[in-house]
Symmetry: C2
Subunit: 527 residues, 2 copies
C-alpha cells in the first residue's frame, strides 16, 4: 500500500494544506510522504459523522459489531510486512517486538468480538412487575447498558499498534457501540494510515455506517483539545504522559457538559524485594529485573521504575549483579526525540535530588539512543524528597535502601497511585508480605507475586489501571474485557410493553443470555 498522507473523515480520505512529516528516530531524518494536519474543520466534520453514525451503529446486533472487529483484525494481518516495516521506520522498535505487538492488537480485537457475543457486558437485569404489592404495586423494570456516544481515542507513542488506531481503546469503544474519532500520534502517522485503511476496508466489507471511524492527524496539541471540546464527543480514552492526560482532564472539566476522561498516565510500578527472596536468588532477580527495566528501551507504562529492598548482603548482591547486567545492555533507540530528551532530563533530576548512579554513566552516540540506568537512595532521602518517586519514562529505575520493614510500609503508603506493584518473596517472607499486601492494594490496580510487571495479558481478569495518577479514574482498566465498561451506561425501561423493549430485553431473548432476575443471577441458555 502506498501511503498518501491523507486523513480519514468517516470512510473518505481527506487532505489539508497543513503538512507535517514523520521522523525516523534512528536517523533523525524525515520520512515521506508529508501528512495532512487536521484543524477545527476536520474535527467538526469527523464528529458530525460520528454522531450521525451513533444510532445506526449502536442498533446493530452484537454479532454484526463482532464481525466488524474480526474483519479489522484480518485486514491488519493481511497487510503483512508493509505495516510492520513502516512501524519500524517510525518508532525504531525491533521487528520481533512489532510482530508480537501486531499479534496482541489482532488478539484484543478478537477478544472483544467474543465478549460482544457473550452479552455479559450488557448487564441485563429484570425486576418483574408486582401488581399486587402493598402499599404500591411495582412496575416491570428492565435494565441494559448502552454505549455512551462517540469516543475520542488518542493514539499512544509507545504502542504504535496495540494502543493506537485499532488498539485496545478503539476495540473497547467499537465493541461497546461507540463510533470513534482517533487522534493519531504524530510520531507514527504512516502506521496510523496503514491501520486506518484496514478499519475502513473492514467497515465497508461488513456494512458499517461511514462515521463509525475517523482518523485525524496533526502535530499540534490544540487538535486534541479541540476534539475533547467537541459537544458530540461523549468520552475520551488516552494513554500517555501525566501532563497530556491532565490537560485532557482540564479540557473536559471546562466543557459546558463535562465528559469522562479515561487517561492512563503515570506509574513507577514499585517492586518490593523481600529478605528471603534476596537471600536465596539475588542474582537471578537482578537479571530478570534488568530484562524487565530495559525491555523496549523501558518505554512501557509498567516499567519497574522503583525497587524497594531491605538492606543486607542479599541487597548488595542484587545491586552488584543488576549494575553489571545493566552495563551489558546495549543502548536502544527511543521512540522520538522528545522522549529521549525527557529521559535525559529525568536522569539528571534523579541525580540532582541526591540519587546515586550505580550503572551506565556514559552517553551513547547514535541519534536518540539511550542507555538503561540504575540509581540508589536511602529510604530517608525518598521520604524527604517524594519527587524522586515520579516517573522517568525510559529504562531507568531507582533502588531504595530500606533499613526495616516499617520503612518499606511507610514508603508504600506515601506512594502515588500505580498501575502495578510487585512482591518478590519466598515462603519465609510470608508474614511480611501479608503486612504489605493491604497497603499495596490501596495503591495499585494489579499486584504481582514473583513476576515482573512488563507484559500485560489481554484477558478477562486483567486490570491495567489504578488510582490517580496511574489513571484519571481508578475504577477503570484500559486492558482486558472489563475495559468496555468505560464506554457504557445503564438505562432502565419501566412499564414497557414487550414489543417496544430493546431486543435483548424481550423476555424470550433474556432467557438466552446471562441476566439478573429479581436479583438472582441466571446464566441463560443460548438456543
Amino acid at each position: 500500500m502506498a501511503l498518501t498522507g491523507e486523513l480519514f473523515i468517516g470512510g473518505a480520505r481527506h487532505s489539508t494544506p497543513h503538512r507535517f512529516h514523520a521522523v525516523d528516530p534512528a536517523r533523525n531524518s524525515l520520512l515521506e510522504p508529508p501528512f495532512s494536519a487536521a484543524g477545527t474543520a476536520e474535527v467538526d466534520a469527523a464528529c458530525a459523522l460520528a454522531d450521525a453514525a451513533f444510532d445506526p451503529y449502536r442498533s446493530l446486533t452484537p454479532e454484526r459489531r463482532a464481525a466488524f472487529l474480526d474483519a479489522i483484525a484480518q485486514h491488519i494481518l493481511d497487510q503483512g510486512e508493509g505495516l510492520l516495516e513502516r512501524a519500524r521506520e517510525e518508532t525504531a522498535l525491533p521487528p520481533a517486538r512489532l510482530t508480537s505487538e501486531r499479534a496482541r492488537t489482532v488478539g484484543q480485537l478478537r477478544v472483544f468480538a467474543a465478549e460482544l457475543r457473550s452479552r455479559a457486558w450488557l448487564g441485563l437485569r429484570v425486576d418483574p412487575a408486582l401488581p399486587n404489592r402493598q402499599p404500591l404495586p411495582r412496575p416491570d423494570l428492565r435494565q441494559r447498558k448502552i454505549p455512551c456516544g462517540p469516543v475520542a481515542v488518542f493514539g499512544a507513542s509507545n504502542f504504535p499498534l496495540a494502543f493506537s488506531v485499532a488498539g485496545g481503546d478503539s476495540a473497547a469503544a467499537l465493541a461497546a457501540g461507540c463510533p470513534i474519532v482517533v487522534k493519531g500520534h504524530p510520531s507514527h502517522p504512516g502506521t496510523s494510515e496503514w491501520v486506518a485503511a484496514a478499519i475502513i476496508a473492514a467497515a465497508a466489507e461488513t456494512g458499517m455506517p461511514a462515521g463509525v471511524f475517523s482518523l485525524l492527524n496533526g502535530p499540534d496539541v490544540a487538535l486534541g483539545a479541540a476534539l475533547v471540546g467537541d459537544p458530540r464527543i461523549a468520552a475520551v480514552a488516552f494513554t500517555g504522559s501525566r501532563a497530556g492526560g491532565q490537560a485532557l482532564m482540564r479540557a473536559s472539566a471546562a466543557r459546558p457538559k463535562p465528559i469522562p476522561v479515561f487517561a492512563e498516565m503515570s506509574s513507577v510500578n514499585p517492586v518490593i524485594l523481600l529478605p528471603s527472596a534476596l537471600a536465596s536468588r539475588a542474582v537471578s532477580l537482578a537479571q530478570a529485573f534488568v530484562t524487565s527495566v530495559s525491555l523496549g528501551v523501558g518505554q512501557f507504562c509498567t516499567n519497574p521504575g522503583l525497587v524497594l529492598a531491605l538492606e543486607g548482603p542479599g541487597m548488595e548482591q542484587f545491586v552488584a549483579a543488576a549494575a553489571a547486567a545493566l552495563d551489558a545492555v546495549p543502548p536502544g533507540i527511543m521512540l522520538n526525540e522528545g522522549i529521549r530528551r525527557n529521559y535525559a532530563q529525568g536522569l539528571e533530576r534523579l541525580a540532582e535530588q541526591g540519587a546515586q548512579r550505580l550503572a551506565q554513566a556514559g552517553a551513547p552516540e547514535a541519534p536518540n539512543a539511550a542507555r538503561a540506568a540504575l540509581f540508589s537512595v536511602p529510604a530517608a532521602t525518598l521520604l524527604a524528597r517524594p519527587a524522586l518517586a515520579e516517573e522517568v519514562f525510559g529504562p531507568a529505575s531507582l533502588l531504595v535502601r530500606c533499613s526495616c520493614p516499617a520503612e518499606v510500609r511507610q514508603i508504600i503508603e506515601r506512594l502515588d497511585g500505580q498501575l502495578t506493584a510487585t512482591v518478590q518473596m519466598t515462603d519465609d517472607d510470608r508474614a511480611l508480605a501479608l503486612q504489605l499486601l493491604p497497603a499495596l492494594e490501596r495503591k495499585a490496580g494489579r499486584i504481582l507475586i514473583n513476576g515482573w510487571p512488563t507484559g500485560v495479558e489481554v484477558s478477562h481478569a486483567m486490570v491495567h489501571g489504578g488510582p490517580f495518577p496511574a489513571t484519571s479514574d481508578g475504577r477503570s482498566t484500559s486492558v482486558g474485557t472489563l475495559s468496555i465498561e468505560r464506554f457504557l451506561r445503564p438505562v432502565c425501561y419501566q412499564g414497557f410493553p414487550e414489543d417496544l423493549l430493546p431486543a435483548e430485553l424481550h423476555t424470550t431473548e433474556l432467557s438466552r443470555w446471562p441476566h439478573r432476575f429479581d436479583g438472582e443471577l441466571r446464566l441463560g441458555k443460548p438456543v
Copy 2:
C-alpha cells in the same frame, strides 16, 4: 431521645463553639437545640478516623457488613415516632410521607445487606494459568473489586431520611466497604442526629471500627469544600442542586489528586403525550400529571417539569383539566426558605422568558408555602430560548405545544441529560414512539411508558442517573443495587499462591459464588 446538637466524630459525640439552629419552615421559627458547626479541625479528625477504619472495615466479611446495615435499619425503626416527629418539624413534610420515606430508607439498607451476601458486586474473575502456552505462558490472574476508600456523603434537603445520613449513598458506600463522613444537610440537623445515633448504636452492636461513620454539620458551604478537599477522601456522593454539585466537581478537579464525584443534580424529566393517548384519556392523564407534579410540593428530582404535547383537541382538553386540577391543589410548605425563594424566582424566570401561566397566579400567605404552577409555550419559543427547559425545583411544569412529531423530536434532541423521560401512548402511537425512543435513550437514565417519573423503586434494575447535568457521571446510578459500583474499583492479583489471595478468590471460595472463569460465567454453588 433528647437531641444534644453535637457532631459525631467516629463513635464519639463532639461539640464546637460555632452554633446554628434548624428552622421550622411552617412557622419560620428556630428549633432547639443549637447545633455545633464543624470546621476544618473536625473535617481532619473525621477523615483521619475514616482512613484508619478503612482497612479493618473493608476486610470484614460481607456477612459482617450486612449485619451492620441490617442493624442500622432496625435501630432506625426502633426510634419510632421521635425520629419522624423531628423530621416533620424540620421539613414540613407530612407524617404519611415521612413514614413511607423511613420504610424506603430501611428497605434500601436491607436490599444492600442482601446484595452484599450475594457476592455479585465483587465481580470475581479468574483466568487460570496456561504454563505451556506459546510463545509465552500465561500467569494465573484473578480479579475482584475492592472499595475505593473513605467516601464523603452529602445529605439532601428533600429526602431527610432516604438521601441523608443513612440514605441510599450511605448504604451503598458502607456496603462497598467504605467508611463514610456525612455532611448533614443544615435544614434538618436534628433528624441527622437521630439517624446518626442509630448508626453509632448499630456500629457498636456489630463491632464495627469507630471511624466507619462520622457526621459533620454546618450551615457554611466551605465545610463541604473542605471535606471534598481532604486527601483521605476517595469519592463523593451528592444529591442536590446543579450549582452545588458543580461546585463539588470543581473542588475535586482542583485537588492534587482528583477523585470521582457522583452528583445527582438537575432534571426536568420530560413527559411526552402522544396523540392517541391524548385523544383517548386526556382528563385522566391531566389528573395523574397533577398528582405527580404536586407530590411532596414538587420537591423531587424526578418531578415532571416539562410536558411535550402535540397540538389538537386532546391537548386542549389536557390543558384545561390540568389547570383545573392544579387550581384545586392546596399550597404546600416547602423544605426551607431558600428553596421557596428559588422556586418563586424560577416561576418569574419562566414568565419573563415568555411562558404563559395557565394556573395558580396568586401567592399563598403561609410562611414558605408554594402553589403548584403550570406554564405553556409554543415549541418554537422553547427552541429559541433553551433556558426555559432548565429545572425549576418545586411543583411547576412547562407544557410545550408542538405542531408536529418532528418538532417533538427536535426538542428532545436539544434537551440536556435527564434522570427520566416518559411517554404516554396507546397502541396507535406505536410508530411515533419507536421513532422517539432512541432519542430518549440518549438523554435519560430511565424511560417510562404510561407511568409517572415520581416514585423510584429501590431494586436491581433501577437507574437513577443520566447524562450531565442529571448527574456528574452518566454511567452511575444513585438508587438500586448497581449504585454500589460507584465506590468499587477492580484489582488484579497475578501469580498469587492460594494462601496469599484474598479469601473470596481462593479456589474453593470461588466455586461458591458467581464468577467468570476464563470468561465463562459460572453461578457458583453456595454450600
